[in-house]
């Protein structure tokens, strides 16, 4: 019981950054924009979060900085793909290349002279886990209540994100824009505005996911701190079938695998880590296969039909 609780606690901690990024990407893709810049945005979020925290000493400022950096990078993506109608894959990949390169560059320049201008190896303020008195003592569910503030925020954010997407006017517009921009436009929805806002807000959330890594999960800055999480999120979005309420399961699964892997490695297992890391992708493939089997299912919860396409009013 003890073991289950602790594995679950680690799974949730490991999954938090994934949930933020997955939610962000779900919103972006729901507007018909595929943002493959995730990995770069997460890295930049992690870097700016840590650097701000280190110099200002304020975690709140650090989170704001990460949000702003994510929003800015996503705004570039929105400008390129929505206004300039560039290919979304190309634009997204460039952002990843730029973001990872720039983060690593800044990591070697922003640090104090004492550390040879490097950020690596420094420790700054961090977001510490806070146990909820009473609740955190409970077996198994106690794991839910020994988390940091970002994780607690998720407990509210996930239902809110779901409600926003399926029950509000904005969510309705967003879904329509991603499915069928021409129809949305003809019905009076401002397609450009919706695409921009969704992409920018999505990018901000993704960067927050990155900041959670450098401020809480593995505090401090290190090169490639995300460990490819940005790519995993792309699979998780499919796994979640573009539904915020489902985002949490994929992230927990991956987080859980991480947690188990830690335990296994600690106990000297022979199963290679790479094999375990592969599992979320296998699960994604399984979901895709299942979706094609139930055609009616895929119609309702499949990828937004307009994903990846640029829209221009007078072009048919």
């Amino acid at each position: 019981m003890e073991l289950v609780t602790s594995i679950l606690a680690i799974a949730i901690r490991a999954g938090t950054s994934l949930v933020y990024a997955t939610l962000g990407e779900i919103y972006t893709e729901r507007a018909g924009i595929l943002n493959l810049g995730l990995e770069g945005i997460m890295l930049m979020g992690a870097l700016s979060g840590f650097a701000t925290a280190y110099y200002s000493g304020s975690v709140a400022l650090a989170l704001l900085a990460a949000l702003a950096v994510g929003a800015a990078l996503a705004a570039i993506h929105a400008f390129l793909t929505v206004t300039m109608r560039a290919n979304q894959v190309v634009s997204g990949l460039s952002i990843t290349l730029f973001g990872s390169g720039f983060a690593s560059f800044l990591g070697q320049r922003l640090g104090p002279i004492s550390n040879n201008h490097r950020l690596v190896g420094l420790s700054g303020p961090r977001i510490a886990p806070i146990g909820v008195p009473g609740l955190s003592e409970l077996p198994v569910i106690g794991a839910l209540f020994t988390q940091d503030i970002l994780t607690y925020a998720l407990y509210a954010l996930i239902p809110l994100a779901w409600f926003y997407l399926y029950r509000t006017r904005h969510g309705l517009n967003l879904r329509a824009v991603g499915e069928d921009p021409q129809t949305a436009d003809a019905m009076g929805v401002d397609v450009f505005k919706v695409k921009y806002l969704a992409t920018i807000a999505g990018g901000a959330l993704v960067a927050l996911g990155g900041a959670q890594l450098s401020l809480s999960y593995t505090p401090g800055w290190s090169e490639n701190i995300t460990g490819g999480r940005g790519w995993i999120v792309i699979a998780l979005v499919i796994f979640a079938m573009w539904n915020p309420a489902r985002a949490v399961w994929g992230a927990l699964l991956f987080g859980g695998i991480n947690a188990v892997q830690f335990r296994l490695q600690a106990s000297g297992t022979t199963i290679p880590a790479g094999f375990l890391n592969m599992l979320p992708y296998l699960a994604t493939i399984a979901v895709l296969v299942a979706m094609t089997f139930w055609e009616s299912l895929s119609k309702r919860i499949g990828a937004p039909a307009g994903l990846g396409n640029a829209y221009m009013r007078e072009e048919k």
Binding site: T183, D190, K299
Partner: protein
């Protein structure tokens, strides 16, 4: 058979269109062009819309060339014109989707700039587009309120549903507000489009070929709705290629040709023949000439064929039919009774669950589309945008799409673009396809011209059997005439033609033999010469010979 809808007094006060050159004295000018607004005047109707000197060009085409248009309250204006004449373009300008290059728009007497569909909606303008504007994966209710002004942050969908049910009861447009769009038939989707306008209380309605995909019954329903809305003081612009609809729906007709207004008439003062002439610029024969019927060997044979539709429900239930060389076999039936599935099974696009299909005495049940094409089968599909043409490829490539595997279009597996262009030029000329060039992406052509291109390609590739599903849907009368003549020409060349149509007149004038489909069963097969519209209509509605309903 068809009952004329109730008529409201014809608009006595209509205004002449003045085009850019001040030409246009085709009808009486009862209101001074710049005159005072007639609102509130018991005699004169308020002028809801006035468009002046509208110009709009696309690369290679002048789609609107100085068009003027007016619409008064309580009036239905029919907009006629050949495929590509610029009807949809003009209406898209009014609906805010296209921005005009020049010209003015006045709504209720005020000069306005319509920059987006949102602006148009705010002015009470609502449009039913030529292709459905519905989000497939959302429900009817969600589609209806999408983009609505003043929608609360958390829309009360239950109230929306109530209102939809209320409206559908009032206008006799039954539809389930909770159904997803993809679950609905084409007719039901069209009802949703109309409900959207009603829900938004638009009083300037634009209906762009709303009846093209409807069954005659559904068209009648629609006509009742339009008349009702007119009675409520709304006004409508109605685009159609069907002359009888112009006569029953409208008060006034405006005819466009190549982006210009060529005529304007009160409906009561004109007739289909004259309108057809004005539209096409020549006499249109409403009759086709055929050689005597001398059928040869059976080309297509179906025995006990069953298949399911996209949703997995039975669509064909044991169909047995045969179509001989030199015969046009007409398939009559209300859309959705298995016609599409029948054509797809024959052409290899859908698997038959049971039964046998053979072409020229060779079994082709569930053979691949390519092997069926190689047996000389050509297919004009129902869904031309999805199955018939590749929107992002050029007209030339689309026209070459059936023949590119062999000489002269390719040799040794290498395609020859210059041959593509030669072929394209020939077919464009022959079938009068209106396109700026052979290299234009086909999606930029008007709907009717895409259809002509598919037809040109398929007829060119036909060896023994032509399967044509609603081939004249959406075509103007000139093109419809041309298509019918082509079908008959194929038959006279000794090919077998399977013609699916909902237009009983088309079947009676073109087909040699008529088979009626109802719920996936053949209700009867008889020579066209012995058939009459009444009998076919009854069978289409599922009445057995003798009058019993199954």
């Amino acid at each position: 058979m068809r009952k004329a809808p109730p008529r409201f007094p014809k608009g006595r006060f209509y205004v002449v269109m003045k085009d850019r050159n001040g030409e246009g004295a085709w009808s009486q000018d009862l209101l001074p062009a710049q005159g005072p607004r007639a609102r509130g005047d018991g005699e004169l109707r308020e002028r809801l819309v006035e468009m002046r000197g509208i110009r709009k060009s696309f690369p290679g085409v002048q789609a609107s060339d100085g068009i003027g248009l007016t619409l008064a309250r309580g009036e239905v204006l029919a907009l006629l014109g050949e495929n590509g004449a610029g009807k949809s373009t003009l209406m898209n300008i009014l609906a805010g989707l296209y921005r005009p290059d020049a010209g003015e728009i006045h709504i209720r007497g005020e000069r306005v700039r319509i920059e987006s569909p949102r602006d148009a909606a705010a002015l009470g303008i609502g449009m039913v587009h030529q292709n459905f504007m519905l989000v497939d994966s959302m429900t009817v209710a969600e589609n209806v309120v999408l983009g609505q002004r003043g929608l609360p942050f958390v829309p009360d969908l239950r109230a929306v549903k109530r209102r939809i049910l209320e409206l559908s009861a009032r206008y006799n447009l039954s539809v389930d507000p909770e159904a997803y769009i993809w679950q609905l038939s084409v007719g039901e989707q069209q009802r949703v489009e109309i409900l959207k306008l009603l829900y938004r209380e638009a009083d300037i309605l634009i209906l762009d070929e709303p009846t093209a995909v409807l069954t005659p019954q559904e068209s009648e329903e629609l006509s009742a709705v339009v008349h009702r809305m007119r009675g409520e003081g709304k006004a409508a612009i109605f685009i159609t290629h069907k002359m009888e609809e112009v006569m029953t729906f409208s008060d006034r007709v405006m005819v466009l040709r190549r982006g210009r207004v060529v005529a304007e008439k009160t409906t009561a003062d004109t007739d289909p023949k004259e309108l057809a002439r004005l539209m096409v610029g020549r006499e249109v024969l409403f009759r086709v000439e055929k050689a005597p019927f001398t059928p040869g060997e059976p080309v297509l044979e179906l025995r006990g064929v069953s298949a399911t539709d996209d949703r997995g429900l039975p669509a064909l239930r044991g169909i047995s039919l045969s179509c001989r060389a030199g015969e046009i076999l007409g398939i009559a039936g209300v859309a959705g009774n298995g016609q599409r599935e029948l054509a797809e099974v024959v052409t290899g696009l859908r698997a038959a669950k049971e039964g046998l299909v053979s072409i020229n005495c060779v079994e082709t049940t569930n053979a691949s589309p390519l092997s069926i094409i190689r047996r000389g089968v050509a297919h004009i599909p129902q869904d031309r945008n999805q199955v018939g043409a590749v929107g992002d490829m050029s007209v030339a490539a689309n026209l070459a799409m059936k023949g590119y595997r062999s000489r002269p279009l390719s040799s040794g597996g290498i395609i020859r673009p210059s041959r593509f262009r030669d072929l394209a030029r020939r077919l464009i000329e022959l079938f009068k396809i209106a396109t700026p060039s052979t290299e234009t992406r086909i999606k930029f052509l008007s709907g009717g011209n895409i259809q002509k291109a598919i037809l040109a390609r398929e007829i060119g590739a036909c060896g023994s059997l032509l399967v044509a599903v609603y081939p004249s849907r959406g075509l103007d009368i000139g093109a419809t005439e041309a298509v019918r003549n082509e079908l008959v020409a194929e038959r006279d060349k000794g090919r077998a033609v399977l013609l699916v149509s909902e237009d009983i007149d088309e079947l009676l004038s073109v087909a040699d033999t008529i088979a009626v489909l109802f719920e996936g069963r053949v209700m009867g097969v008889f020579p066209a010469a012995e058939a009459d519209a009444e009998r076919i209509g009854a069978l289409m509605a599922g009445m057995e010979e003798g009058g019993k309903r199954t």
